[in-house]
Amino acid sequence: MNTWNKIVLGIVAIGMTAGLATAGDANKIVVDGSTTVGPIAKAFAEYYMGQHPDVNITVSESGSGNGAKSLINAACDVAAMSRPMKNSEMKAAKDAGVLPIEHIAAMDGIAVVVHPSNPLANLTIEQIRDIYTGKITNWKELGGPDRPMVAISRDTNSGTYETFETMVMNKAKMGEKVEYVGSNGAIRQRVMSTPAAIGYVGLAFTEEVKPLTVNGVEASAETVASKEYPISRPLYLYTNGRPKQSSPLHDFINLPDAPEGKKIVEDLGFVPSN
């Protein structure tokens, strides 16, 4: 078993040096991670490459957890994450000689959405929790039509799920009837086409579905920026160490603080951080 481990480690090491060879190139930036942060990173990349045609930025979206893994394995320069790094990931990074530095890309609210035909307008955090634990199973219990509820959640692999779990579920466990789907877009698609559905998505994904007010607060840029809205969170970009001054990576990572960056974030339906 030990020899096998060594062989596997060897292969991983070869892969890592190959990864470093690409990641080390100063004019190439590889971004990997959250599907929520992905659109922001892509818009930043487009803007930055427009200004600096010699820089090449690739953005892939494989989930916050995979982004962290990529950063630890030196397969990317920037890990886009919709949650802070966990202690276990920090430890793994330390063991691999990687020092993750946190940058806030934007603020994001998780909107609770229902089908446009749903008459309901507001839910409290407790009600949302009861829906997802399976305590409330029919819309009539909330004053809606007599229709069994279809509660839809992001997969446990996503940062959105983790944020929802910590901010809404408060350690309560998801009910067994809760459905899981793999992306924000897929939740929107399911809620859009299912009259009995309720789901939660990033603020940028509320087109053609009906976002509810939570505890009476509307999910909007203002309420998220002011942290009035109860389900809001920062979105992160992690780098390995502080990027060198005036390197492309440094410029890229500081875009969220520049006025153009703030505009990009706003255009995408997120909220610029202060």
Partner: protein, 388 residues
């Protein structure tokens, strides 16, 4: 084939050896050894790949037993891999995988076998040459395209008009089946009677049973037609799509089995005065039975191993539907769980959440290995029986 090879070998043995110089003969021998070795290596590579996969999956699955034990995994339905006190009950996933596979088989086998019979014994050769490749195109469609279709088209369709669709489906499936069953029952019941009474009694039985079947179908159709499907991402949706995906396998393997039935058998049946339908049902199908069984097993493997479609459209709720055969509830399969949970499962620290996915993969691998062996066995037995 074997006879040919034998005579070739004999010929070679009987011929006087070509006279070559000593070095030339040595070179020839070395070249032959290298060539044989290379071919052996290439051939064993795929076999080795299977063994390697098996070894590595088993190696990563094993620690789960040490970390969490065996009992919970196979008996509990509580799946909370990310909770503080993680629970790893996979029973619901086993049931989910089984349910969608069963559904896929219910869709694929009647359709597939009927299509195979049609291709091999009913359609003219020129039409068959066109239809078979078209069916095989189904196998070339990427599974994510099927998943997209299931999510965007079939799921909303089931939600909006699932009840009426099911009501109509009962008629489409039930009416021919009932007609066939009634005719067969009437035939059997009146076999021994004299000619004149026979016709009368037969019509009486057909009439009575026909009214009964009509009433039953009408009742079932109405009951199903009134159903409201809350969520279109459910076992039924996935079963239909997986059934369509398994179709090409079922069709082409059962068609091969039907083709393998000797011509003489069909001709003998016709010579005894059987009609084409009788020949097909009473002679050809039983003779090709085990080949068709092999086709079904291969279809099962196709359905149980499919990931993308179930991940996109089965709803992924970790529950056993109540009652268990309720196809209108969302289910979660083993494959979808592996695909969905792999990203966050922490392989750096080697957590139970990581190893449990390998345990699931191991279960799937063992299952498809068993399926493969049994289909292999069935096919071999048929060959022996038919002397092919």
């Amino acid at each position: 084939m074997t006879e040919n090879v034998k005579t070739m070998n004999e010929m070679r043995r009987d011929m006087p050896p070509l006279l070559l110089s000593h070095s030339a003969r040595r070179r020839q021998r070395i070249a032959a050894a290298v060539g044989n070795g290379f071919l052996l290596a290439v051939t064993s590579l795929s076999a080795l790949a299977v063994l390697f996969i098996f070894y590595f999956i088993a190696r990563d699955a094993w620690p789960f037993f040490r970390l969490e034990g065996v009992r919970e995994f196979f008996t509990s339905v509580r799946w909370y891999p990310s909770a503080d006190h993680a629970e790893f009950g996979a029973l619901a996933m086993f049931v989910g995988s089984g349910l969608v596979t069963l559904g896929a088989i219910l869709v694929a086998v009647p359709l597939g076998v009927a299509a195979a019979v049609c291709l091999s014994d009913v359609l003219p050769f020129s039409v068959r040459q066109v239809v078979k490749p078209v069916i095989e195109i189904l196998a070339a469609i990427p599974s994510v395209a099927y998943g997209f279709f299931a999510l965007v088209v079939l799921a909303p369709l089931l939600q909006e008009s699932g009840g009426p669709i099911l009501g109509v489906a009962v008629w489409i499936v039930g009416a021919p089946l009932a007609a066939l069953a009634i005719v067969v029952v009437a035939d059997l019941a009146t076999d021994r009677l004299r000619d004149r009474t026979r016709t009368r009694v037969r019509w009486l039985i057909v009439g009575l049973l026909g009214v009964g079947a009509f009433a039953a179908l009408a009742f079932a159709g109405k009951a199903l037609g009134g159903l409201q499907i809350a969520s279109g991402a459910n076992a039924l949706n996935v079963s239909i799509i997986l059934g369509i995906m398994a179709l090409p396998t079922v069709v082409s393997v059962s068609e091969d089995a039907l083709q393998a039935v000797e011509r003489g058998l069909r001709e003998g049946s016709y010579a005894l005065g059987a009609t084409r339908a009788e020949t097909l049902v009473k002679t050809v199908l039983p003779a090709a039975g085990s080949g068709i069984l092999a086709a079904v097993i291969l279809g099962v493997m196709r359905a149980i191993g499919e990931t993308m479609v179930v991940w996109m459209a089965s709803g992924n709720a970790a529950q056993i539907p109540s009652p268990w055969y309720n196809f209108l509830e969302p289910v979660r399969t083993l494959t979808a769980t592996i695909a969905g949970d792999m990203g966050e499962a922490d392989h750096v620290t080697g957590s139970a959440r990581y190893h449990v996915l390998f345990l699931m993969a191991l279960c799937l691998l063992v299952f498809s290995l068993l399926c493969n062996l049994s289909s292999e066995w069935v096919i071999r037995r048929t060959r022996k029986k038919t002397g092919g």
